[in-house]
């Protein structure tokens, strides 16, 4: 392989694989958000625009 191809390949593959693994590990390690004490009371009141 020529050097420029090798550099682009290693950088791209390394970045994509690295970011994918990092994000997936972060998902696995992050505990789920707790339910609000009073779900309805703490929930933001959303207003729908249409019907």
């Amino acid at each position: 392989m020529n050097v420029s191809a090798l550099i682009l390949m290693v950088v791209t593959v390394g970045t994509v694989a690295g970011v994918t693994i990092y994000l997936f590990v972060k998902v696995l390690r992050t505990p789920p958000n707790p339910e609000p004490d009073s779900y309805n009371a703490n929930d933001d009141v959303e207003e729908r625009q249409g019907l």
Partner: protein, 550 residues
Amino acid sequence: MGVRKDGWGTRVGLILAMAGNAVGMSNFLRFPVQAVQNGGGAFIIPYLVCFLVIGIPLLWVEWSMGRFGGKFGHHSTPFIMDTMHKNRLWKYIGVFGIWTNIAIAAYYCYMESWTLSYMFHSISGSFEGLDQNGVASFFDNYINLGTSTFGIPWEPVLFFLVCLFLNTYILSKGLEKGVEKVAKIGVPLLIVFGIFLAIKGSTISAGDNGAIYDSVDGLNFLWTPDFSSIWSPSVWLAAAGQVFFTLSIGMGTVHCYASYVKAKDDIALSAMSSGWMNEFVEVVIGSFILIPIGVAYLGLDGLKEMVNLGALSLGFKTLPYLFMQWGDIFGAISSFLFFSLLFFAGITSSLAMGTPWIGFLKDEFNWKHKPAAWSFGLIILLLALPTIFFFKYGVFDEYDYWAGTVSLVVFALLESILFAWGFGITRGWQEITANAEIKVPNIYKYIIKFVTPVLLLWVFIGSLVTPKDGNWEAAFQGDWTLDDSSIIKTLMNSKIKDKLANATDPDTIAFLEDQLFYVNASRLLLLSVFISFALLVYIAYKRRIKNNQS
């Protein structure tokens, strides 16, 4: 607010299902073909840039639209969009999010059934001893409903029915027990199979089992950067188009899956995780299978020649032959693994296509889950039959073009305008960042508001009026002759009409006239399906008014 009856069992399940939705056959077939057709290394850089400025923003937009609509008990785009703006027309724009999925699923399930069939043919030895033409003839005979080597009449129809039954049955089991379970098995399996094939595919040396080149030559072609392409609009259009296909954005499936995410849960990190997982499969695995193997056995010119026949041709007419060069047993196993990989990629995507319709019937017409799922199967069966029986007339391609290509761009453009300008970027940004477990870079606020809609508009206009041979320079200098691939010329059937004008053989003329008929008929069919869905949305809207008044 609506009551959530269905939902995701685990967050990992949601991410794998979303990744499974995005990872499809295009990761392994369309991406390499696009890369080869657009100059190899010339394609990679625009592709990655498009992923960052179109793909990622749209993922966040669709996930947040879905979670927002889910708060009001909506799980399909017509009424998700309706919650975001007062203009009543948005819900009819949202019809795209149901129609696209139904129309794509109709031909996609058929294609998925080919992979299922090829899995069996690989291990039963159907490809043993066949030369390249033999494998190509096998496929031609298959799609023309000829007698198969299994001796089963109308074998493609049988495999299609099996495939459709599998999809419908899994969908009928619900989100957690059906879709999520399949994603948890299918996605890891396809990654393992893909890594195995990628390692094997990229380590072929010239002389090994008849290889004429090192597979590294293929990697060299794919990864040698060509910075001159930065200024080629055609390459950018192709790159942007590939980002659409690969992430399954502009379809309505992401909205639907995300509508089952609880209001307290993150979407920013989940969207990124599933999106990057798709890129991993496409860039890291997908680029190391087809191109290196193709170059090793066919040479670069040979591969380019095959690629011009299209991704399906390469995947089903050529690859089994290439795998069989590795010996009868190892070749059969590799071929089986490859088509299994395509099958898992396909089924995790086609399952996603069923959920918006099911969600719509449950939300708006109080259908129970199982009947809603089986109604999806019935519609797909009816819509798929023309693609099976009139495949040679191009009905399959018509579905793919209008539902699987044009519709995605149109819907993505409109939803990005709704989100950034109708709903408003301030509220939109709050939705994206609410309960986010990663820091979303502020620059994306401006990218979503300005860059993404403008790029999408450019992609749409570029596809609408593509200049001849993609020569934009000539077009901007005044010679704007439309290419046959432009939407306008496609709508006018220019390619078929040109062929018809030049044809002299009576059989060819008769075939082209039939083709013209079937192409127009399939468009009318797709249009009538869209109108029917719009009518259902109208009825649902009237029911809502009535229920609110009573």
